[in-house]
């Protein structure tokens, strides 16, 4: 597999053989050049040059990474609650995302991020 990051005019800016490295680079570039008005695209290819799938932008990658994080958490800890908005009238300390581990304890969004990072 081969990955190319392109700008909106079709110029290749960077290339990778590792998908996660390519995704991380796309996120980093998009965040760092957020005010430039430029859109960066991630394109995947088979080793023979055949294109794979659609071009992805930073939002696609972040969504994909979050989905993977939640799937991994579900495998490790039993289940993941749906997105739970904080209740009206409560102080904004209620996490937007709550997950319940198999030992019955609740986990906040920040802990979830930490656990997801640690599971790789």
């Amino acid at each position: 597999m081969y990955y190319a990051i392109s700008d909106s005019e079709g110029s290749t800016l960077d290339t990778f053989t590792d998908e996660r490295a390519a995704e991380d680079a796309l996120v980093e570039l998009s965040q760092r050049h957020d005010t430039s008005g430029e859109t960066f695209f991630l394109l995947a290819y088979e080793d023979d040059g055949s294109p794979i799938g659609d071009a992805r932008v930073v939002g696609d990658v972040l969504q994909h990474q979050l989905s993977g994080l939640l799937r991994q958490f579900e495998v490790d800890y039993g289940w993941v609650a749906p997105l739970v908005p904080s209740s009206a009238g409560e102080a904004p300390v209620v996490p937007l995302l709550t997950a319940k581990a198999t030992d019955g304890t609740n986990t906040t969004a920040s802990e979830l991020t930490f656990l997801g990072s640690s599971t790789g």
Binding site: Y2, L13, F40, R56, V57
Partner: protein, 154 residues
């Protein structure tokens, strides 16, 4: 048929591998451009590097500043068309057609002689980087054709 270019330093990894076209050597490449006409004075703008356009260096351009002065080309017309199609499809699906900046046409260039340099990393997407004066690159255009078939552009 393009003859095999020779000479120039050959570096490994993420380092630059710039080759020079020698006398009598030629290279045929394809570039996305924004006009259908070789005589259009604006054609030269399609051959300006990101540095010439005042864009910030990004990715390899940051690590290897010389890259900022090169332009992207493809060894095949099909790969140039694929690059455009996937970018256009993504923006249109996102409802961002107004952000389309990519050229609607593909120019075929025949580069001959020592005025041009290039890097070929043998990447699967057949991408290459070419260095040359923008007006010389525009003058090397052999023909220009729509990137999409006529019945697909409606």
């Amino acid at each position: 048929v393009a003859t095999a270019p020779t000479n120039g330093p050959r570096l490994q990894g993420d380092r630059l591998e710039i080759l020079n076209l020698g006398a009598g050597e030629q290279l045929v490449v394809f570039r996305l451009v924004k006009t259908a006409h070789r005589q259009d004075p604006s054609l030269v703008d399609s051959f300006r590097s990101n540095a010439d356009l005042g864009k910030p260096a990004v990715g390899r351009e940051e690590r290897l500043p010389e890259m900022h002065h090169g332009i992207s080309v493809f060894k095949t017309r099909a790969q140039a068309a694929d690059r455009r199609r996937r970018i256009v499809d993504r923006l249109v699906r996102q409802g961002r057609s107004e952000d389309l900046r990519i050229g609607d046409y593909i120019a075929r260039l025949r580069l001959v002689g020592s005025g041009f340099r290039f890097e070929d990393r043998n990447s699967p997407d057949r991408h290459m980087t070419v260095w040359g004066d923008a007006s010389s690159l525009a003058a090397a255009v052999v023909d220009i054709s729509p990137a999409e078939p006529a019945d697909a552009t409606d």
